[in-house]
Subunit: 178 residues, 2 copies
DNA sequence: ATGTGCATGTAACTGGTTACATGATTCG
DNA sequence: CGAATCATGTAACCAGTTACATGCACAT
């Protein structure tokens, strides 16, 4: 399984009931960070969640506009979301997938969030190591494009590590250890 | 059209003839940066490129192993690659898509590369601006997950801008302006 | 008049993945 | 003996997009 829309949407609904349209609007402007679902995937998804009993719907007839269908998560939905969220961070997780997981941070008990950040930290570090080795292996006789791509990846993983570090500090310092 | 495997593979073959397997190996360890094609997409793709006359194949019968099929790009292939590469950078280009484009830098006449980096710079800057606004709009009453995601995005776009800036410098300083 | 926002949805398509099959060879 | 590497490929499946349809209200 990858980072499905499915659980992401479920996570959003866990924070507050929303309509399909609300979800799209909420995610607007975040297209760079996460894959905003198109209506063609979102509405069928909501329906199937409904059929599975993971969400309920309340139809609010618009007075002079189309009726809004507000979806709320059910206990069953929360349960399956929890199960999802408890899995370890995907080893090959893309940036977007990770951001989507971050978004779901509210569903996590505190220490679990820290845990996930640490996992990501380890993965990025590993990845960075791999890049360094590739660069070392290729040496100077590397095509321009390849060099650019590798250095770019290096710069971004560095930045990500810095951010993770500082965020972990922020999360940990306020709480006394133990 | 998005950043198809199609043109990426074509770009790799433009740099040197390779077999399908070679391509997979070459891309190994870069899975974080680009979407490495699975055999299920790669081999059919190579075949269709062949049928379209964009590549030619030379079968090297392995002495005691499966024969290797070395694909080389044809003039027609180069032409269609060029046409692809001359298009502007996708406005909503994901990180991976951009890295793939970087990889194809060899196919670009020098100034065009600079041009692409500049375009990316502008896009990232715009994106960053959007994030700042979202943060400002939401104010303090923002869910934890949302805050994390936004700050993460901010940190990464900053890093990307820094890298782009320094890379542009590197590319430009050696050449006298004009 | 023309378009944009609200709000839902469907059908056809695409660009992939997963899992498998083949078959020899070398490594531990 | 079992596993991994080399090297090709196929078939079934899947998540998602694109483009469209509907229809009213409000702004330009």
């Amino acid at each position: 399984m990858k980072m499905n829309l499915r659980y992401f949407v479920l996570g959003l609904l866990a924070q507050q009931p929303m309509s399909g349209y609300d979800i799209q609007r909420f995610l607007k402007g975040l297209a760079w960070l996460i894959n905003r679902p198109s209506s063609g995937s979102l509405y069928p998804l909501l329906r199937s969640l409904l059929e599975e009993g993971q969400v309920t719907v309340e139809v609010i007839p618009g007075l002079d506009r189309p009726p809004r269908k507000i979806y709320s998560i059910t206990p069953a939905g929360r349960e399956s979301l929890q199960a999802w969220v408890d899995r370890p961070v995907e080893a090959d997780g893309s940036l977007k997938a990770f951001v989507m997981q971050l978004f779901l941070a509210e569903c996590l008990p505190g220490p679990r969030l820290v845990d996930q950040l640490r996992q990501r930290q380890a993965q990025v570090a590993t990845h960075r190591e791999g890049l360094l080795q590739t660069i070392a292996a290729a040496g100077a006789q590397m095509a321009l494009g390849q060099r650019l791509a590798l250095e770019y990846g290096l710069a971004l993983s560095d930045a990500e590590l810095v951010w993770l570090e500082s965020e972990l500090d922020r999360l940990l310092i306020p709480l006394p250890p133990g």
